[in-house]
Symmetry: C2
Subunit: 380 residues, 2 copies
Amino acid sequence: MTDRDTRQILLTPGPLTTSDTVRRAMLHDWGSRSPAFIEMTARIRDRLTALAGGADSHVCVPVQGSGTFAVEATLGTLVPRDGKVLVLSNGAYCRRMVRILEIIGRACETCETAEDTPPDPAEVARRLNADPAITHVAAVHCETTSGILNPVEEIAAAVAQAGRALILDSMSGFGALPLDLAATPCQAVIASANKCLEGVPGLGFALIEKGALAAAQGNAHALSLDLHDQWITMERTGQWRFTPPTHVIAALDRALDELDAEGGVPARGARYRRNCDVLRAGLREMGFALFLGDNLQAPVIVTVRMPRDPKFDFDRMYRRLFERGVVLYPGAVTQEKSFRVGCIGRIDETDIRRALHEIAEAVAVMGVDRAGLTPAERAG
Amino acid sequence: MTDRDTRQILLTPGPLTTSDTVRRAMLHDWGSRSPAFIEMTARIRDRLTALAGGADSHVCVPVQGSGTFAVEATLGTLVPRDGKVLVLSNGAYCRRMVRILEIIGRACETCETAEDTPPDPAEVARRLNADPAITHVAAVHCETTSGILNPVEEIAAAVAQAGRALILDSMSGFGALPLDLAATPCQAVIASANKCLEGVPGLGFALIEKGALAAAQGNAHALSLDLHDQWITMERTGQWRFTPPTHVIAALDRALDELDAEGGVPARGARYRRNCDVLRAGLREMGFALFLGDNLQAPVIVTVRMPRDPKFDFDRMYRRLFERGVVLYPGAVTQEKSFRVGCIGRIDETDIRRALHEIAEAVAVMGVDRAGLTPAERAG
């Protein structure tokens, strides 16, 4: 949307395309104990909590590192050593939560569905009623493995009904998918600076229910990932426990200004939805088959079934587009071969149309025609 | 050294002043799986290993987060669950290692000296001979608590002689203090992008002996902080396991160019030594008393004894200098009240003289005279 001719368009689940102004916010050095930086940290924490309607109920605890660091920190801080987690699993990020729980020694079970199938809230209710040892349910808002939108409102209602706590990984949804903590009870929501908030990577955060966080002292398995300790220090001094990524934080502060200027979460979600709709229509028109139906597709990233025509060569298409400033992403679903095209970040419909144009040219250069892309015709 | 009139001079242990060109390296968005970014990661890892003469013996494993994340990751990855660590402690960063070891459940003991006293290598040898259960020794190169330079060469020799492994936190020394892994055996050396390397914060790393790292599978207490797993993935794919702080990494790549251009570690160390000498001479001339003697002072950060004259108000001086673009740092030694003035980062003698001038003015404005600053006269 700026510098259109020279910039890269990152159609990935992150790192994403950011605005020039967000990147330029990194041109200043900040002392991490200076009053202005302390104010910036407080402002960001308040704004992030408010984005999900959690100002009265939740606090924002940021943590250095990638989104996974924030997920691990939240699980380790909130799930007590004798707790047990039911993980609703339909993709790689759910499976990563299971791996974390195994490493940090917390009991867990999975409620697994296929990668194109959302968890069933009734089944979640059944599992919770059957096992009173389960203290927490962990779920992913949008699984970027496939791009699926999971039904968090219904899941949250089932978990609340059973008197358990929900930990929601909304990494790739927060800031674009609607989430109201007053209506959708979550003990914690986890996200990062570098997805729909359109900051740069280096920082994750969790919005955590105040009472649950206050009760979490001593749970954490790691000093660096102890969100209770991070919170206590921040409340007491306004400062981070350990050197914060000051430039990344300044970029997020600016990115939140730009989110406000755009019209907040509804406007951002609408832009991504438009990107997604244009992308899906264009891909289908070329003959590509999409992994998810429209009803399951979050406006975040689209999984495209890999054409079986031997003339179609994804690596060749990837390199060709890369040279032209458009970056695609490999597939991640395990059921079949695929590639992915993202629709979040500082990009709009014009960028998506440009990417579609490049994809069409790449397909033509490879000599793949529509019949080679469409599974129905392939099967015939 | 650029933009001299408008920039802040951060005289802290970090975040530090960086060059305009290092910050401008953050103006581009990188896809983390793109070939160019994969090359950048490999280049940085090789350059960091080479800086300490470890190209044949060690590998560099970077990790997202602050320096403490890298310290915790290294301890958790290299010290097996039944290992035992002797921590040589004379400041807050040694104490933080003890806290990490307690949290992650590794046995540890401390060999403690006062904050103005380096560990005694003979005592280290005695402790190692007396306790065969000790597998590792952990030490800090320069303790920024006080600014003391610990005798790492002698410590490394004592540890090697006893057949144990040394883990060295060289956070605030790496890139400026000489360190040759061929002559100073370390199983691991830990540092960050944002100290003497003059990158921006958000990234730490460890240089780890290849054999020790290969043997460390399954040790780590946390997925995010598992350097064995991070290494295996990087060697296999060239990529980071989890979203890397791409802009921070690009800044470090540029910062390493600038380190080379300056003349490498010897030239950078010489600039900091000059900064430190000018700073110490100027502070003494004003009547300030310094916590460490010249023989113990690393050219990193200087601890200044707090004048007891009630007219001297550190917070007032801090604010006054802050408004003038010079950022000091509070003290950290526990033995007495103090404040600190750093001499690392993209600053030179001219910046130090400017800071001294501002300090002199602040002291004059408060009505503190030389007699009020000098402890000998205070005692009289």
